[in-house]
Amino acid sequence: MVSIFITAFIVGGLICVVGQLLFDVAKLTPAHTLCILVVAGSVLDGLGLYEPLIDFAGAGATIPITSFGNALTHGAMAEAEKHGLIGVVTGMFEVTSSGISSAILFGFIASVIFKSKGKV
């Protein structure tokens, strides 16, 4: 039980280090970096490697943005398994709905509650 907390910290930290290297060494903008990580997560899931990583590191694998790509691919493939090619489109947001919907919801609530103090 304790070990998953340690692996979560280390794996999550390492994924962020990859992001920092893309910032500083490859001189990419944050937007480019996040796009690369999302695509990486999606490809890793296609190869069947992301699921074992979640079992190993828990939130260390599900909290970084790579898990967003993984969840999109996962939903698309699960639906494709059942319904064939059309499932690729219909299943896309099946797993990752919470990320997008909570971002929209809390974004709107925040805009109602909080006042802009310059760039936040």
């Binding site: 979560a8 910290f9 930290g13 920092q20 937007a31 997008i100 809390f106 925040a110 909080f114 802009s116």
Partner: protein, 151 residues
């Protein structure tokens, strides 16, 4: 001054990014956010009927809720200053991008300001996420059809 000289001068004058320090701070910040996430998913696994795999959905929503509070009170900006990629890469960074854009454009009204600008920064992540997921799932479906791999 020609362009080459200017670029050289700019390179000399601009402060060097302390790479090692940035990496350590990114590791610690990102690791801490994931550690908090692990506690949240433990909560969902203990008190609700979730497994390690399915707990990620409610955990992500909760983390974005935390990001809303931190962004609203102007604290996420401070974490980002020393955390670098450690604060941008976790899902809270995605939440922060959406939420800060929403708050920032509030003055332009809810429809044109908040609605129109909310995904200004995060939109590219969704676009490339969806597109790559489409390609990957398409390739896998075709490979399964031809019997190269199985699900």
């Amino acid at each position: 001054m020609d362009e080459k000289k200017y670029a050289k001068l700019e390179k000399e004058i601009s402060p060097k990014r302390p790479l090692m320090r940035n990496i350590i701070f990114a590791f610690l910040t990102g690791g801490t956010i994931c550690l908090v996430g692990q506690f949240v998913s433990l909560f969902y696994m203990t008190y609700f009927d979730f497994t390690q795999q399915t707990a990620s959905n409610p955990t992500v929503a909760t983390m974005i809720f935390f990001a809303m509070l931190l962004t609203g009170f102007g604290l996420y900006k401070k974490i980002a200053q020393f955390g670098g990629a450690g604060s941008a890469v976790p899902i809270t960074g995605f939440g922060n991008a959406v939420i800060s854009a929403a708050i920032e454009h509030k003055t332009e009204g809810y429809v044109l300001g908040v609605g129109g600008n909310m995904f200004k920064l995060a939109g590219s992540v969704i676009l490339f996420g969806v597109f790559s997921a489409f390609i990957v799932a398409l390739i896998k479906t075709i490979l399964v059809k031809f019997g190269v791999v199985s699900w």
